[in-house]
C-alpha cells in the first residue's frame, strides 16, 4: 500500500511495506469500528431521541462482554502485527545476507555525507578507495554492507525508497545492509536533527547497471572530495582517542 505513495527500491522494502499494510488493515478495522459505534451512540442516544438514560455500572456480564470480547480480539491482532514486524526487523536489522558483494563506509558530518567506495580493487580500506561527498554509487541487485560512523554529532543515514534508516552515532561503528532493486537516483536525507545544516544534509544514491557503474568507476578513479575541516577516509572516532 505504501508503494502507491513511494517507490519500493530495495529487496526488503516490500516486506516492510507489508508490515505497514497489515497494521493499516487491522488498526484501520478497529479505528473505523470504534468511530462507527461512537457516532452511532451519539446519534441514537441524543436527548431528543433518548430522554432518559439507563443506570448501568458496567460490571455486569451483559454489558461487560462487549469490552471483554473486543479486548481479546485486540490482543490477537497485536500478536499478528508483532509476528510480522519482528520478522521484518530481524531480516533487516539482526541479520546480514550471507553473500555480500561490496562494503562501503559512510561518515556523517555536519552537514554532508561522506561515502567511501572500495574502488577498482573491490576492497575497502585500500589506497584506491573513492571518497565522495553526498554521492553514493551502487550497482543494482548487488548486496552492500555499510559501516556507518559520525564525525561529530548524531546523524541518521536513511534512504526512504529503500525503507532504510540507521542513526550514526559518534564513537561507534554501526553496520547495516541493503540490496537495491530499481535503477535510478534517490534521496539520502539525514534523519536526525544535527544542527543548522540538517535541512540541507541530503545525499543522492545512484543505483546503476554494471555498465554504468564501470563507466563511473573509470571516471572517478583517484577522485577524493575534500570536506574542509575533516579528515577523510579515516575512522572519525579514532581522532579523539589519544
Amino acid at each position: 500500500m505504501l508503494n502507491w505513495i513511494i517507490l519500493e527500491a530495495s529487496s526488503y522494502a516490500a516486506q516492510i511495506d507489508n508490515v505497514i499494510l497489515i497494521i493499516a488493515l487491522l488498526g484501520g478495522f478497529w479505528l473505523f469500528a470504534a468511530e462507527f459505534v461512537l457516532f452511532y451512540f451519539v446519534a441514537k442516544y441524543r436527548r431528543s431521541r433518548s430522554p432518559k438514560a439507563l443506570h448501568i455500572t458496567g460490571y455486569d456480564h451483559e454489558h461487560n462482554k462487549w469490552i471483554h470480547w473486543s479486548h481479546y480480539a485486540v490482543i490477537a491482532c497485536d500478536i499478528v502485527i508483532l509476528v510480522f514486524a519482528a520478522r521484518a526487523w530481524y531480516h533487516v536489522k539482526q541479520s546480514v545476507p550471507e553473500h555480500v558483494d561490496e562494503e562501503i563506509r559512510i561518515v556523517g558530518h555536519q552537514w554532508a555525507w561522506e561515502f567511501v567506495h572500495p574502488g577498482p580493487d573491490g576492497k575497502l580500506g585500500t589506497p584506491d578507495d573513492i571518497d565522495l561527498v553526498d554521492e553514493l554509487h551502487v550497482i543494482i541487485n548487488k548486496t552492500y554492507k555499510f559501516h556507518l560512523e559520525s564525525a561529530d554529532v548524531l546523524h541518521s543515514f536513511s534512504i526512504p525508497r529503500f525503507r532504510l534508516k540507521q542513526d550514526a552515532v559518534p564513537g561507534r561503528e554501526i553496520d547495516g545492509w541493503f540490496t537495491p532493486t530499481v535503477a535510478g537516483t534517490f534521496d539520502v536525507p539525514c534523519s536526525q536533527m544535527c544542527g543548522l545544516g540538517h535541512g540541507i544534509m541530503g545525499g543522492r544514491i545512484f543505483v546503476e547497471t554494471e555498465d554504468e557503474h564501470r563507466k563511473w568507476l573509470d571516471s572517478a578513479t583517484g577522485k577524493t572530495a575534500a570536506i574542509p575541516g575533516h579528515s577523510t577516509g579515516k575512522l572519525a572516532s579514532t581522532q579523539g582517542r589519544n
Binding site: I5, I6, R47, W89, P170
Partner: protein
Amino acid sequence: MTTHVAADHAHSEGDHGHHELSFIQKYVFSTDHKVIGLQYFMTGVLMGVLGALASYVFRMQMAFPGHAVPGFGLVTPQIYNQMVTNHGTIMIFWFAMPVLIAAFGNYLIPLMIGCDDMVFPRLNRLSYQIFLFSALLLIASFFVPNGGFGGAWTSYPPLASNPIYNQTPYGAPMWLAAVALEFVAFLLGGINFITTLMNARAPGMKMYDIPMVVWMIVIASILFMASVGPLVAGAAMLFLDQTLGTGFFDPARGGDPLLWEHLFWFFGHPEVYVVLLPAMGIVAEVLTVFARKKLFAYRTVLWTAVATGVLSFFVWAHHQFVAGIDPRMANIFTVTTLLISVPITEMSFVYIGTLYGASIQLSTPMLFAIAFIVEFLIGGVTGIFLGASGADIYFHDTYFVLAHFHYTFVPIAVIAVFAGVYYWFPKMFGRYMNDTWGRVHFWGTAIPFNGIFLPLFYTGMAGDHRRTFNHLNFPDLARGDLNFLRELSTVSLLVMLAFQVIFFVNFFYSMFRGKKAPANPWNANTFEWVAASPPPHGNFVTLPHCYRGPYEYSVPGHSSDFWPQNEPAPKT
C-alpha cells in the same frame, strides 16, 4: 476514628484579621488554590499562544519556503530550528502540563474532595512562582547572543552538549535550566495533589467515590514523580557538559550520547501519559454529566489508568529503535509497546460504552469531549505503526510521527482543555460562556485541526522528514502533490488559529459580562457544584459529607436524574 477541630495546615494571610486583602495579596501572592490554579491557567495559555505563534512561523516557512512570513520576516535555518525546538518544548512543559495538571488540578481537587484548600498552601504558591520564573527564563533565552536553543525538544548530545555544534552557547543551558526548574515546580505541585487527596477528603468519601478527574491528576503526578528523576540526572550531566566542558556524553572522552537518549525517554514516555490521564479525567466528568449516565465500569477505568502508568515505564526505547541500540532489544520494546495499547484501547471502549443507553445533550463542553475521543482514537491507532519495530524503520523521524503525536497531543492539550474550560467556567467565574460562539469555536477548531495533520500523514509516508526547514532541498520531495498538502496544512493552521480568537473574546467578555450562573448550572453530582459560583475563600460554608459515588445519574426511582454526592440518602 478520632476527629478533631482545626485544620492541620496553616491558613493564608488575611484569615485571622478582619482587614481587607489588597489586590496584590488576593491575586498575586495568594495561597488560595483557586487563584493559583487560575494563575497557572493564564500563564500556561499565554505560553501556549507563544508556542502557537512559533508553529505559525515555521509552518509558513514549510508551505512557502524562502518567503518572508507576514508579521515575522524571513526564516533562516537557525530561526527555523529555534522555532520547532521551542514550539515542542513550550507546548509540552509550559502549556499542556500547567493547564491540565496544575490549573485544573489546583482549582478542582480541593473543591471536588470537599475541603477548603490544599494541604500545603504556601508550598503551592512557591510552586507557581518557580513555574513563572522558569517560563521567563525560557523566554529570556531568545534574547541572549545567538538566541535560543535549536537542537530539538529532545536535546540529544553531542549537538546539545557542545556549543561548537549547536552555536547557542547561552541559549542551550538556559533552555535546560528552564526545563529543570519547571520540573521542580511540578514536583512541588504534585506533592500537594497527592497529599491532599490522601489526607483531606471529605468524610465518607471512599476510594471509589473520588471523581475520576481527581484520580487521574493524582496518578499523573505520581507518574511524573517516578519518571522525572533519571532525566534530572541526565540534565545535570548535560548542563555540566554545556557549561563546564565535561564529557559525560562525549564519546572521545568515554561518554555516550545514547546514555542521554535512554535517560530522556525513560521519562519521555511516561510523560505522554502524564498529560493523557488528566485529559481523560476531564472527558470523564463532561461525558457523565451531559450523558446523564454513570461512568461505565469506573473501577476498570481507574485500574487501566494505573496499569497504563506502570506499563509506560517499560516502553521507552520504541523512540530509539534505529538509534544504535542492540537490535535484539527492539523486539522486547515492540512487545511492551503493543501491550500498552491494550489498556488504552480498553479505556477508549469504556468511554464509548458510557454513551450506550445515555441521554446525550450536545452542549459545547460535550462536543469537545466527544471530539476528544474521535480524534484520540486516530492518534492511538497510528501509534501502532511506530511501536512495531519493523514498520518504524521507515516511519521514524518522518512527518508520520509528527501527525501521530499531534493526533494525541492536540486532543489532550487543546480539545480536552476546551471541554474543561467551557464546563467549569461557570463555577470559576459565576457566569456562563456564550454557547453559540462556543459552538462556532468548536467547529472552527475540530475541523481545521484535521486539515492540518491528515495531510502530514501522507507527506510523512512520502518521505518528508522532521525538522527540515525546506523540503524542496530534497529532489524526491519537490513534488506538486506534496507541496499542495504542505500548503493545505498551513492554511488549515491559519484557519484554526483565527477561530481561537473567538474563544479568547468569549472567555474574557463572559468573565465580566456573561449571563450569571447558579451554583450548579449543569445539574452535576460532584462537590464543586455545591460551592457557590465562584466559590469563596475556604470554598464551602459547611464542608460536605460524601454519601455516594460521583456518577449517580438517572438512578431508577430517584426523584431527579442526578443525585449529588453530598445529599444524604432520604429517610424511609
